[in-house]
Amino acid sequence: MSTTSTLIQFRLNGEPVSRQVEPHHTLLELVRECGLHGARESCGQGLCGCCTIVVNGQAVTGCIYPAMHAEEAEVGTIEGLEQDGQLDPVQQAFMDAGALQCGFCTPGFILMARQLLQQNSEPSDHEIRHFLAGNLCRCGAYPEIIEAVKLAGQRMRAAA
């Protein structure tokens, strides 16, 4: 064990976790070492959104976010959305709208779409595009993703 490592404690999808981390470890590495693989490394530069993780309610790019900053934080990943076998409305809308192909970028889009809908339950096309501009989908499922966000917003408003 390196002398630079630090023991940190945080909550991961609501459960308490303590881990030894190094200064160069990213939050993405940390959650993946915890066995959660929904956040993924793709560009490695915080430019594609595949590594999106929620820290204290705020979506961050996990591949460039220092693991040590998770100390005492509430860390949320895509795996934390499903409750008692029920998908989150945004997850369900992505399925229903067919808003995914290879699926590698999908968790990042869903987490960002949730952030948007929390701030604005009825976003326009323009607002959806603007908010999701930092997430990339090489399969080009963007039209269906826009539909999914609208559909989720409709359902969330109807349920509210």
């Binding site: 190094e22 160069h24 959660l36 693989h37 929904g38 956040a39 993924r40 490394e41 793709s42 560009c43 490695g44 530069q45 430019l47 594609c48 595949c50 990943t77 895509i78 795996e79 959305l81 499903e82 998908l87 997850q91 369900q92 992505f94 399925m95 229903d96 067919g98 995914l100 192909q101 290879c102 699926g103 590698f104 970028c105 999908t106 968790p107 869903i110 959806i128 595009r129 603007h130 999701l132 501009a133 997430n135 990339l136 989908c137 090489r138 399969c139 080009g140 499922a141 963007y142 039209p143 269906e144 993703i145 826009i146």
Partner: protein
């Protein structure tokens, strides 16, 4: 016969992908996630020169880093694999560079460690001394000039008959020359009313699947398991077995869901390196690329296409000569197949009585080029459709009318001699035109904002010869499992195959379990490429399902009970075995008809089917800045019967959006020494959500592929075909400038507008 449990047809149902729930919950299983006990991480030391002799490699500083298990060079590789050259068409690519490097980023050495960060740090300490050699980058120059030879001797793999004559050839960079000779081109040109001569270029681009390439080799007693994000597990198995001199059954290749492929993960990529490292280290080894490293692994061919056409007074194309140079980079990969298959249709979907084609696969000192969504078709469509628009313009004809006049009709022989059948060329063209309201006048804008529109149409011959084998089992409770080596990479193949099987078996597609490819378990399939799975594997799956029903019927007869399709399999098995036990197995295989071309490039059976795609684009161009905006894009394909309309939709629009990247955003930028300047998403922009056309439509025409499963054929690529040329035409239509080299950037448009005004700008581009 109707042996169905459920009356509902499966073909044509809009159903969710079988794996979609796992994809929205983050639990989807990718090779990216595989972690094995005692697994080492490999970091690759890469060449910093495009062409150089390796004088020495000093690994001592790297090996001295605490935590480094081993530093590996080609000398170590050759102790476990004496001839470490691999490749599907040529055995030209060394696992690690031997004596020479031939492109920037070529793997030279590898550092192994339990900790990926230690491996990365140590890799930077490996010191390689080079003697830099002159390099060649341009495909036309490399083909016609032998001052710089990328390879001293050509080494075809022997699997393709049209490459055998190249064995042992020296003094050339041309790795395949496909030629077609049809009619009398020379005489037709001499008699032509109009002659057109244009050269169009495409740039080198890269697939960048968001799951970067990854392979993990796990050595066991006299066998090896390879977990790999591959589109072709069957090929990996046979190529690794060949390299090791082992039997195929000693090599087990397992794939999972792929986080995108697009051709990048075809044939053999990191697997040979992972296997060599695992055999050297006697431990599992993970080789995983970063996004930057993907730029050095495999790319899409840059091309130069000179197209000359003879046209009569009525606007009919009477003769054409196509000369296509494909920049294959330093290693052939599957480039020679791209050159040949796209060579077949380089003349375009037109009825041309006299046609010559020369298509050359050329070695250069750039990163290798292979197949990228379309297998070379997008490059040839770019040229022949761009020229179609230029001819129509010159003759004062409407671009759609010009195409309608020249279109090849079903029942007419294509220039290769193969008769066109089940190809919805006219259907697609007409549908694009109607979706674009082509007959109505366009609002052309005012002042500095001008509007224009264009249409592009392309077609493609299917890759052949190929083999697909499928197995379906029914267990003791009658539930069915489909075993195929088709790789689910986002195209929806697992679902499509389940639909085909379920339709035959009278089940719901969701009730069929589709097993991920595992060469110990799933039977042979050539590869998941070129939109071949729906057609080829679909036919094999349909046959396997029918065979399963035949086996159930025989079982019913054997045990003396009525045959009720899949409904009473459990009863039949229970009667036979006395308990819930046993398995019924159905198998099927499919080899589409195909005949290799003769010396003139002709064959009565060049393709098992024709795929068709067309695009219409309307743009708005700012004449002061060259900036443009796609107001509207309509994409139409002929995919025969849409098996699953929900996936068909995303495949059409997704292909078109991806092709927008190559059309106006993406270009690998090399400097004069062959150094890549933009190997990152910060500088190499792929289409994002803000790049979407303002309005997008899609359609699949009402058509049937008579030889396909339930009338279906592939469509993963068709949405790409017509995009680029439609864009060039739309811009030309708007502001009167013609871009002949991709990508069509605002800067390119601005420069062309400046030149149009008689104020040309200085060229600052140093790209070789």
């Amino acid at each position: 016969m109707n042996d169905t449990n459920t009356p509902e047809r499966q073909v044509g149902r809009r159903i969710d992908r079988l794996e979609s729930r796992s994809k929205v919950t983050g639990t989807a299983d990718y090779t990216h996630n595989v972690v094995l006990p005692r697994m080492l991480h490999a970091k690759i030391v890469r060449s910093v020169h495009a062409h150089a002799r390796i004088l020495s490699i000093d690994t001592s500083a790297a090996a001295a880093v605490p935590g480094v298990v081993k530093v590996v060079t080609a000398q170590d590789v050759m102790r476990v694999i004496p001839d470490p050259h691999y490749g599907p068409a040529f055995h030209d690519q060394p696992i690690l560079a031997i004596d020479k490097v031939r492109h920037i980023g070529e793997p030279v050495a590898v550092v192994l460690s339990d900790d990926v960060h230690i491996a990365e740090t140590a890799a930077a300490l490996v010191s390689v001394e080079y003697e830099v050699l002159p390099a060649v980058f341009d495909e036309v120059q490399a083909a016609n000039n032998t001052d710089v030879l990328v390879h001293d001797v050509l080494r075809p793999a022997g699997t393709f008959p049209d490459l055998k004559h190249l064995a042992g050839r020296k003094g050339t960079n041309v790795a395949l020359d496909y030629r077609l000779r049809h009619g009398d081109v020379k005489t037709a040109f001499a008699q032509a009313a109009h002659v057109f001569d244009h050269t169009f270029r495409t740039q080198q681009v890269v697939h960048v699947p968001l799951e970067p390439m990854v392979s993990i080799a796990q050595p066991l007693d006299r066998r090896i398991i390879i977990h790999t994000a591959s589109q072709s597990p069957s090929f990996v198995r046979l190529e690794i077995a060949r390299l090791l001199g082992w039997a195929e059954n000693q090599v087990q290749v397992k794939t999972r869901l792929l986080g995108g492929g697009f051709g990048a993960k075809l044939y053999i990529k990191l697997e040979a390196l992972a296997v060599a490292l695992a055999l050297i280290a006697h431990r599992p080894v993970r080789v995983a690329l970063t996004m930057e490293e993907q730029f050095y692994m495999i790319t899409k061919h840059a091309t130069t296409f000179r197209i000359r056409s003879a046209v009569d007074a009525d606007g009919r194309i009477t003769a054409r000569h196509c000369e296509v140079y494909w920049n294959g980079g330093a290693y052939a990969d599957i480039g020679p197949r791209v050159t040949q298959k796209s060579g077949f249709t380089a003349g375009g979907p037109y009825d041309i009585a006299n046609l010559d084609i020369d298509s050359y696969q050329v070695y250069t000192n750039l990163p290798p080029a292979g197949a990228f969504r379309g297998f070379g078709i997008t490059q040839v469509v770019w040229a022949y459709e761009s020229q179609a628009d230029l001819i129509a313009h010159k003759l004062g004809m409407d671009p759609v009318a010009f195409r309608r006049l020249n279109l090849l009709e079903n029942g007419r022989p294509h220039a290769t001699g193969t008769v066109l059948k089940d190809a919805g060329l006219r259907l697609v063209l007409d549908r694009v035109a109607s979706a674009m309201d082509w007959d109505k006048p366009l609002d052309r804008g005012t002042g500095t904002v001008r509007r224009g529109r264009g249409i592009g149409l392309g077609f493609k011959a299917l890759v052949a010869p190929t083999t697909s084998v499928a197995t379906i089992t029914a267990g003791g409770d009658g539930s069915c499992t489909l075993l195929i080596s088709t790789v689910e990479m986002g195209q929806g193949s697992d679902t499509a195959m389940a639909i085909v099987a379920a339709d035959v078996l009278g089940l719901r597609a969701e009730d069929i379990r589709v097993v991920n490819p595992d060469t110990d378990v799933t039977p042979y399939d050539m590869a998941t490429l070129g939109s071949r799975s729906t057609f080829s594997m679909g036919n094999a799956v349909k046959q396997a399902a029918q065979d399963l029903l035949d086996k159930v019927r025989a079982l019913a007869q054997e045990v003396g009970l009525p045959f009720e399709g899949t409904r009473n399999i459990s009863t039949l098995l229970k009667k036979k075995f006395g308990m819930q036990a046993g398995t019924v197995v159905g198998t099927g295989s499919f080899v589409p008809p195909y005949q290799s071309p003769d010396a003139d490039g002709r064959s009565p059976d060049i393709t098992p089917n024709w795929m068709v795609g067309g695009t219409g684009i309307e743009v708005e161009v700012d004449t002061e800045t060259g900036q443009f905006r796609i107001v509207r894009m309509e994409n139409v394909v002929d995919c025969g019967t849409p098996l699953n309309p929900k996936v068909v939709q995303t495949q059409i629009t997704g292909a078109a959006i991806q092709q927008l990247g190559a059309t106006f955003l993406e270009k690998m930028e090399f400097d004069a020494e062959g150094q890549l300047r933009n190997a990152s998403f910060s500088e190499y922009k792929i289409p994002g959500i803000l790049d979407l056309p303002h309005q997008m439509g899609y359609a699949a025409v009402d058509s049937q592929q008579s030889t396909g499963p339930f009338g279906a054929k592939g469509l993963g690529e068709s949405g790409c075909f017509g995009v680029a040329s439609a864009m060039a035409q739309a811009i030309d239509d708007a502001v009167g400038v013609r871009i002949v080299s991709l990508p069509i950037t605002p800067e390119a448009v601005y420069r062309a507008l400046a030149e149009q005004r008689g104020e040309p700008l200085a060229n600052t581009d140093s790209t070789p």
